[in-house]
Symmetry: C2
Subunit: 286 residues, 2 copies
């Protein structure tokens, strides 16, 4: 069971147990619950319980919630998403403070749309005959990212929706994989290495794809720290070398009018969605 | 701009424009909004607008929402998450039907916890000094998955939290990458190939990690269809070959008491969270 503190709580007098409960993966409950909780200066012990689809499992969890309440006299916080009323009711009748993460938004929408919701349709992060083709396209995008990672293949670049350029360890690979995994976008990436720096030019193979190119850059200090983890005390990880590479690559981006982004303070989600935004790519949903 | 129908609507008389608006990546707004919308039999044209952090951008979007309303006389649905009141108010004063995806859950929680929320703390999918170490661990997990994909390296398996086994194209690689990307879990994977089938045994290098092994299986029909996409009319993709491989591998899993999962009807999110559940792994949040 995971213990985390959404913020480093100066005042951790306030401690809460939190349950993320779902009849599916619980990913949405976890992500949204985390966003909500991070607004409060409380220390949290969290329990994620996916695939809660039957009464027996729900009763176990209810007992766990109630036991914590009995012991601490503080109500556990419960974020849940469960379709079956029978299973859901067992959870909501616990001593926890329960919030239905999806239905809270469905009820007002029902008024606006003027139609009854059909909760049985809801299966986020699931696979069905309806989305199988789309799902296969997503897996194909992951295959593509792997086959075109780090410049290993410059074939089939016409199939890339974006080609990410940058020095070693600036975030190319995680970004390409995230674009594929989350959005089904076919992303290739190409590295510039130390050997390229003397006379840095855009490889001929990439020139014809000018409108697909996107550059990543990073602060030399952060790059040096990341590289140091990989190869301690190497020239590769030296701040001097990182400075040279970043300066050269940024100059290349500017000279060739390639859009680029400094990744130093951004997560892979932020880098990916910024690329989508800047390049005008399509965000698919899975 | 993306057009999608959350369900294949028999009755698509009801069409709605939907906006997912955020001052961050808009991933949470999109995922949750999609879950909510999928409960209604409506046809949706969706616009995802991330990084809405200033008034000018908000005003553009408000005008876009209003223009659609003027044109159709149907209110666009708006799912948003914006911290700045100034920016938020521009959106909520539009002609859209606006729902704050995070604050809707924050308000009741505020009562229960008895503390003021601090929305400025909220930055889902972001990077900060506080979570940088954790973020680096996540990137390290992605590196690990890539370095231990498809049995390319059997070194450092002691560092794996799980070792995924299965035949070619049963879902090992996407699952390993998803475990790393979403949960920071170090996952290796190892393939059984056609050549292994005559005398299928657990490789010696894996035997010592018995408690980390997890098997994937899949229906021979689905496997054949996936392989057919890769190598048309090959022995590799033949139903007969797929049947043999699956039968052999499932027998191996049973003989060696390795937990395994049939992936046929599961998405990578479901496979990953089921593995976490069954193996008792820790879900980290990013």
């Amino acid at each position: 069971m995971e213990v985390y503190t959404p913020i480093t709580s100066e005042d951790d007098a306030l401690k809460r147990s939190v349950f993320f409960i779902s009849d599916g993966t619980a990913i949405t409950a976890e992500v949204l619950g985390h966003a909500v909780l991070s607004q409060f200066p409380i220390a949290v012990t969290s329990y994620t319980l996916p695939f809660v689809t039957n009464k027996a499992r729900a009763e176990e969890i209810r007992d766990q919630i109630n036991a914590i309440y009995q012991h601490t006299q503080i109500r556990p916080l419960v974020f849940y998403s469960i379709i079956s009323n029978e299973v859901k009711n067992i959870i909501t009748q616990s001593d926890g403070f329960c919030q239905d993460i999806v239905q809270t938004l469905v009820a007002p929408l029902q008024q606006e749309i003027g139609l009854e919701p059909k909760p049985e349709l809801h299966r986020t992060h699931g696979l069905s005959k309806k989305n199988l083709g789309q799902y296969d396209a997503r897996i194909a995008a992951i295959d593509y990212a792997l086959a075109h990672d780090d410049g290993v293949s410059l074939r089939n670049l016409d199939q890339a929706q974006v080609i990410i350029l940058g020095v070693s360890r600036c975030g190319k690979t995680p970004t390409s994989l995230y674009l594929a995994m989350q959005f089904g976008i076919q992303a290739a990436n190409y590295p510039f290495t130390a050997d390229d720096m003397d006379n840095l030019r855009l490889p001929a193979a990439l020139k014809s794809f000018q409108n697909k190119l996107f550059g990543l850059t990073i602060s030399p200090e952060r790059l040096a720290a990341i590289r140091e983890e990989r190869r301690e005390n190497s020239r590769y990880a030296s701040l001097r070398q990182c400075r040279v590479e970043i300066a050269e690559v940024e100059a290349l981006f500017r000279k060739n009018q390639i859009n680029y982004l400094n990744t130093t303070n951004y997560s892979v989600e932020e880098i990916s969605t910024k690329i989508i935004d800047i390049m005008g790519l399509k965000r698919r949903m899975f």
